[in-house]
Symmetry: C2
Subunit: 334 residues, 2 copies
């Protein structure tokens, strides 16, 4: 099966660019509710795994031991934009652990938030490891490593007990042993597993409604729902589709991005998981596709849609400030 | 006909993302030498038109009147990166015309060259109109407008005589009246015409070997070949595939990018034109696809390929400086 045309970019009403991909909606028992394109193809879920990768913090007792706040747990699940609020929270969390930026395995980068990046440059600074969108996840791993008395060195390598534990947790949620699939290395240095898109959808449905998992794991997942719902700014940042979806729907849609065109969502009340991959890795198309699916599932109220308008129907604005085009879901699949 | 899988992005050997598109090689008599994907589909060639749009400078006599240098003519054909060399040449050219940045219709932006953009921010500056990748083209239009005593105001609108002249020149090269196709507005405010990809390939072939055009037009095109070949840094910038292809092949391949995944090339000695569109608008895939086509056409020597290695097989490097993947042409179409 080939990829499906999901999103079109127009200029003055004429289609200029096309984004293909695949998407799946699964229920918590693993059934496919609806799908488009080839959902059996392997994908790298990348950062979409982060909410699931944060389970160790709670299961291990590290979260209770270090009294992690909702904001810190949300940050552990995040691809944050490197805004000042994110930077300051990673800094204070590391400090409470008696650690510094140098313990993070992710490399130094400028914040993804353009305004913050420009502020730093204008004040003669550069990006650092804390600005990496994964620094919350890394601080989470360091927290559990400290609590379990595991080595802090090389915590990012697949051989480290924490990464072995992570693969077990992910396999449990996906309902398939991930060791059978190819593995890569992520932008931040951590292992980057692959799985068929359908398994990512199933994992998100299980994360939405943790039926069939151990009681401890289910409780950990409910705790993460609560943290993300209470502190949506810390899982992404101002103006992002993830933060605004989580915020506007009051936790009814827990969305999470992954690099290279991945976007997922857990719908706790509906017991549904959604996973989609834009084949070309584009970020601009994935949110338009997800919002079209959410609308199809009748998840969004009219008020929600009004608030999310800039993500549902983004416009293309040229250097003169003129609206010259738009990004829209293709009519063919809806 | 659907789009063809042209380029794959891998992570540790597993395909992570896929870029679809269409490409065509035409000869100077308009015949299709080879093609992939749907070449009848309308595309916005965007900045790929700039070398053809610079013809007015020479035909009108403006180039001779203002003694434009090879570097200035190359800059008129450019999507430059906003490096200091580009900025200074636009500034001195405008100054020679008695004009300023305020006469440019393109809006203010930061340079595409990251190093230069960061330099500006670190010194408390912002991007300006001269940093827009189209500022050379705009300065070219102002030059001809002055020489022909046309209004400088609103030179960017379709109704202006210069834009009407431009549509005539483009229609002449494409061998089809562009007025029959939809039109949009470009990032810099100029009209953005559309045409089937095959016509863009034919136009590039005609630009490569201007047979069947008026002697004046043919001479203008040869003059532009010479200028671009002598000053390849001014048509794009350091490290770009366009500058390096033009430089390494000593003008045997005159390549030009357009926004949203467009890349074209004129091969003067072979009388061939190439046009390709990455359907999703991606910039990272287009150069890999073009270099694969050039290799297939036996245009590149082993030495050329060695020098162009970073464009032929780009690597994906993560934040820790580790090579974690690559961008490669899909095997299926070559």
């Amino acid at each position: 099966m080939s990829d499906e045309l999901l999103v079109e970019v127009t200029r003055n009403g004429t289609v200029e660019s096309r984004h293909f991909g695949a998407a799946v909606v699964c229920d918590f028992e693993g059934r496919v509710v609806e799908s488009w394109g080839n959902i059996e193809r392997l994908v790298f879920p990348r950062s979409a795994l982060k909410p699931m990768l944060a389970i160790h913090l709670i299961e291990s007792g590290a979260s209770d031991h270090y009294s992690l706040s909702d904001a810190e747990l949300s940050l552990a699940c995040s691809s944050h934009q490197g805004e000042l609020i994110h930077q300051e929270l990673v800094e204070s969390w590391l400090s409470r652990l008696g650690l510094t930026e140098d313990h993070l395995a992710c490399g130094p980068v400028l914040p993804e938030d353009t305004e913050r990046a420009h502020q730093l440059l204008a004040s003669g600074q550069q990006g650092c490891r804390i600005h990496h969108n994964c620094s919350g996840k890394h601080t989470g791993f360091l927290t559990t490593a400290l609590h379990l008395n595991l080595p802090l060195d090389n915590y990012h390598l697949l051989e480290h007990p924490l990464q072995q534990l992570s693969m077990d947790i992910l396999s449990d949620l996906a309902g398939v042993d991930l060791k059978q699939y190819p593995m890569g290395i992520d932008g931040c240095g951590l292992p980057a597993p692959t799985m068929p898109l359908i398994q990512l959808g199933r994992a998100m449905a299980r994360f939405a409604k943790p039926v069939g998992l151990s009681a401890t794991r289910a409780q950990a997942i409910y705790r993460l729902h609560q943290a993300i719902t209470n502190e949506p700014l810390y899982i992404a940042g101002h103006g992002t589709v993830v933060t605004e979806l989580n915020d506007v729907t009051k936790g009814a849609v827990l969305a999470k991005t992954g690099a290279e065109g991945i976007l997922t969502a857990a719908l706790p009340a509906r017991g549904l998981g959604i996973a989609l991959k834009i084949a070309d890795g584009s970020a601009r198309a994935r949110s338009v596709a997800l919002l079209a699916i959410l609308d199809r599932l009748d998840v969004l109220s009219d008020e929600d849609k009004h608030k999310l308008e800039s993500h549902i129907s983004p416009t293309i604005v040229n250097s003169r400030g003129l609206i010259v085009g738009e990004i829209r879901p293709a009519a063919s699949w809806l």
